[in-house]
């Protein structure tokens, strides 16, 4: 076994260890904390590079390192393990690189926060669990890291816990993802029970995925398990209808949003579907569900983003939408396309979030784009990098998003079937979504960088320091370059990740889709540019869309009232049910049942007391009082005077004498 496979666990353990050490550091020790965390992360990154090199050198076969967690029953074991294959190698690079950059960015971003030490601790905990998630060779270990990732997300969303909105958001994030996790958990139980092992791959090809791939589970069981596992992915990756937590998660510090709620953790759902792909492929219906959910989410979230004012919320809905694209990509059978988009998206979305962090930091924590403006002149570097990120996200030709989105749309096109028009839906939704994406990003850039400063913060904004601009630089470079890994016709990524899957030929159809979508994006950018220029960017002006379509804008701004709907139905029902159960406990079970039976006992005891009083005590008492009376009469004998006693004694003796004399003579 190559050393890197054997020591793969070190990649995850180092950040965990760093988190443990920083957990014990006192508040003022922020610099050592940052140093420890960044140091551990750098080593993890280097090890990830070694892992990548190993995969490139030795091909695509999964290499595993398994161990027994514990033993039970008759020679049964629960086994865990670590896995190195192209998918985990790719994820290792993404997670460790973005984490490293975000850690460096945080040094600048959090320099005024008194709890920075704790912040680095949580970040490191997150990185460790995320790395463990991507290298786990066991569904159980994956679920364990999955939950730990959820925990660190919870802690980081609520990092500014004193804000009520943050306190609510952290709880919401954990609970909503946990709803999906219940399905995931049951799926794990079923998959484990069905295949008899938690391991994905083993040396003797008896891993659960290998068993599943052979179709040994049966198509309907495979479908049920896939859908249950997809529940977990929907929760984590913010797919409709479990997307509600992700925009609220923006309450956390911006580096957190960049790392966890844009680049890595939310992609874990997509990764999970990718990891379980052999299972999903057993029954095509599972993939269809994934495709439709993804396509719907992609369009749904993109429309909401058009009407938001908070710079981070726009990006959050954009993330939800892009995650929908990835899911759609996986669902339509484009295994590589979905994961390729995950790869490129991680970099440009991290760039956008860190860029927005830089802006927010410069504007003294102002997040409303209506109060920004004119930052182009004051923050050159940030503007350039943010622009690159925007172009990559919108799918502007030759930027990273262009290639990956194109792959997705191509896959969605080939998804169509002759049986039903419904199979065109992913393609159509994807196309419209792309136009919306280009539009809302242009709107945002125009609001933030152009026109005049409309707020206190924006007026005094200045460029951020090098610890913040350096990560932006690296990410910007990656946002431009990574796309070329998937250059049509010379698809390196495809050869790397899925050499066994069939690539769609780069033919006339592909070329026309590419041109069509590019033109659509360019038109959307142009119209966005036109709509949001001139007087619109002055202070106090209303959004032109709001002016034109006030009702539609209000619905979008309120996110289709999904939150309100949940509040009124699911939440209200659960709370009412809980209260009902509590009252049932107090009044029916404890009241009627327990106190009722004790009342019966009490009444019985009253009856028996009455019986006692009347029948038994009555006779007894009478006897007692008679005796008492008799005793009272006889009392005078005992008057306590010894002479008196003596008198009585003498009388008695005399009496005895008389008797003796009288009777004795006879």
């Amino acid at each position: 076994m190559p050393w890197i496979v054997q020591y793969l666990w070190l990649i995850a353990l180092l950040p965990f260890a760093a988190a443990l050490i920083t957990a014990f550091l006192k508040r003022p020790l922020r610099t050592p904390a940052a140093a420890i965390v960044i140091g551990a992360m750098s080593i993890s990154f280097l090890l990830s590079l070694c892992a990548l090199a190993q995969v490139l050198k030795h091909g695509h076969e999964p290499q595993t390192c398994n161990f027994n967690w514990f033993h039970y029953g008759e020679n049964a074991f629960v086994r865990l393990g670590f896995l190195l294959d192209p998918l985990s190698a790719m994820m290792l690079i993404v997670v460790s690189l973005v984490s490293l950059l975000v850690f460096i960015f945080s040094v600048g971003y959090m320099d005024h926060d008194e709890n920075a030490t704790r912040f680095f601790c949580f970040l490191s905990l997150f990185a460790g669990s995320m790395l463990a998630l991507v290298i786990s060779n066991s569904l159980l270990l994956l679920f364990m890291s999955w939950e730990l990732v959820g925990l660190s997300s919870y802690l980081l969303i609520g990092f500014w816990y004193h804000k009520p909105s943050a306190a609510a958001a952290m709880k919401k994030a954990f609970i909503v993802t946990r709803i999906g996790d219940i399905g995931f958990f049951i799926g794990i139980l079923w998959f484990y029970a069905g295949t008899g092992t938690t391991l994905f791959y083993t040396d003797d090809h008896q891993g659960s995925l290998e068993i599943a791939r052979l179709g040994m589970l049966g198509a309907s069981t495979a479908l049920s398990i896939s859908l249950l596992i997809f529940c977990g992915a929907m929760g984590k990756s913010g797919q409709f209808p479990l997307h509600v937590w992700l925009p609220d998660a923006m309450e956390g510090p911006t580096p957190v949003s960049a790392l966890i709620h844009a680049a890595t953790m939310v992609a874990a759902g997509v990764f999970l579907v990718g990891r379980m792909y052999p299972l999903f492929m057993v029954n095509e219906s599972a993939l269809h569900v994934v495709a439709f959910v993804g396509a719907f989410t992609a369009l749904f979230a993109a429309t909401i983003a058009v009407a938001q004012w908070d710079i981070k919320r726009i990006l959050a809905y954009s993330t939800v939408s892009q995650l929908g694209y990835m899911m759609m990509g996986l669902g339509v059978g484009g295994y590589v396309a979905g994961l390729f988009h995950l790869f490129t998206h991680a970099f440009f979305k991290a760039l956008l979030f860190l860029g927005s962090g830089s802006i927010i930091h410069a504007c003294h924590h102002e997040q409303d784009i209506r109060k920004m403006g004119g930052l182009q002149a004051k923050m050159h570097l940030t503007f350039v990098f943010y622009g690159i990120g925007t172009l990559a996200l919108t799918g502007f030709p030759l930027f990273a998003g262009f290639f990956s989105k194109d792959d997705l749309l191509l896959g969605a096109w080939h998804f169509h079937r002759t049986e039903s028009w419904a199979f065109y839906i992913p393609f159509v939704f994807g196309l419209i979504g792309a136009a919306f994406t280009a539009f809302y990003m242009t709107r945002q850039v125009k609001y933030v960088f152009f026109g005049k400063a409309r707020g206190e913060g924006a007026e005094h904004a200045h460029e951020s320091g090098p610890s913040m601009t350096f990560p932006l630089l690296v990410l910007a470079a990656l946002s431009v370059l990574t796309g070329f890994l998937g250059f049509p016709g010379h698809h390196f990524f495809h050869h790397f990740l899925g050499p066994n899957t069939e690539a769609h030929a780069f033919d006339g159809t592909a070329l026309s889709i590419m041109f069509g979508s590019s033109i659509l994006v360019l038109v959307a950018i142009y119209s966005g540019w036109k709509v949001y220029s001139g007087r619109v960017l002055e202070a106090g002006a209303t959004d032109p869309l709001e002016a034109r379509f006030p009702n539609a804008f209000r619905i979008l701004q309120n996110k289709y009232y999904v939150d309100e709907f949940y509040e009124a139905t699911v939440v209200a029902f659960t709370n009412a049910f809980a209260r009902g159960v509590s009252l049932f406990d107090r009044y029916v079970l404890n009241g009627l049942f327990v106190l009722g039976s004790s009342m019966v006992v009490y009444v019985l005891s009253l009856v028996s007391q009455l019986m006692d009083d009347m029948a038994i005590n009555g006779g007894f008492d009478k006897g007692c009082s008679t005796m008492r009376k008799a005793a009272g009469w006889n009392r005078w004998i005992q008057n306590g005077l010894s002479q008196h006693y003596l008198k009585l004694t003498s009388l008695g003796i005399i009496l005895l004498f008389i008797l003796a004399l009288y009777f004795g003579n006879r």
């Binding site: 004998i637 008057n639 306590g640 005077l641 008198k647 003498s650």
Partner: protein, 101 residues
């Protein structure tokens, strides 16, 4: 020569005087004196019977014993009277009625 019954009558008279004293007087010390008289009446009886009945030393021995015990009894009795006096500040028998039921 006095006969046995003379002695017995004397003893009975003495005993009755003693009993009367013990029962009627309030002063505890006089009561004790009464008791002592009753004891000595009994002694006279004993000695008289010894003298008039066939020879056996029992009666005389009994009388001697009774005298010795009477001495001890007088001592104990007086000690009790003193103790009672200390406690109740009185030697009046009627004041001491703690045994009253």
């Amino acid at each position: 020569m006095p006969t046995l019954s003379d002695y017995l009558v004397l003893s009975a008279i003495l005993f009755s005087i003693g009993l009367a004293g013990a029962l009627t007087r309030r002063n505890t010390i006089i009561i004790l004196v009464g008791l002592e008289m009753m004891l000595n009446a009994a002694n006279i009886n004993l000695v008289a019977f010894w003298h008039f009945l066939p020879p056996s030393p029992t009666g005389q021995m009994f009388a001697l014993f009774a005298i010795a015990i009477a001495g001890a009894e007088a001592a104990t009795g007086l000690a009790l009277v003193i103790a009672v006096y200390r406690h109740y500040r009185s030697v009046n028998a009627e004041d001491i009625s703690n045994l009253k039921g």
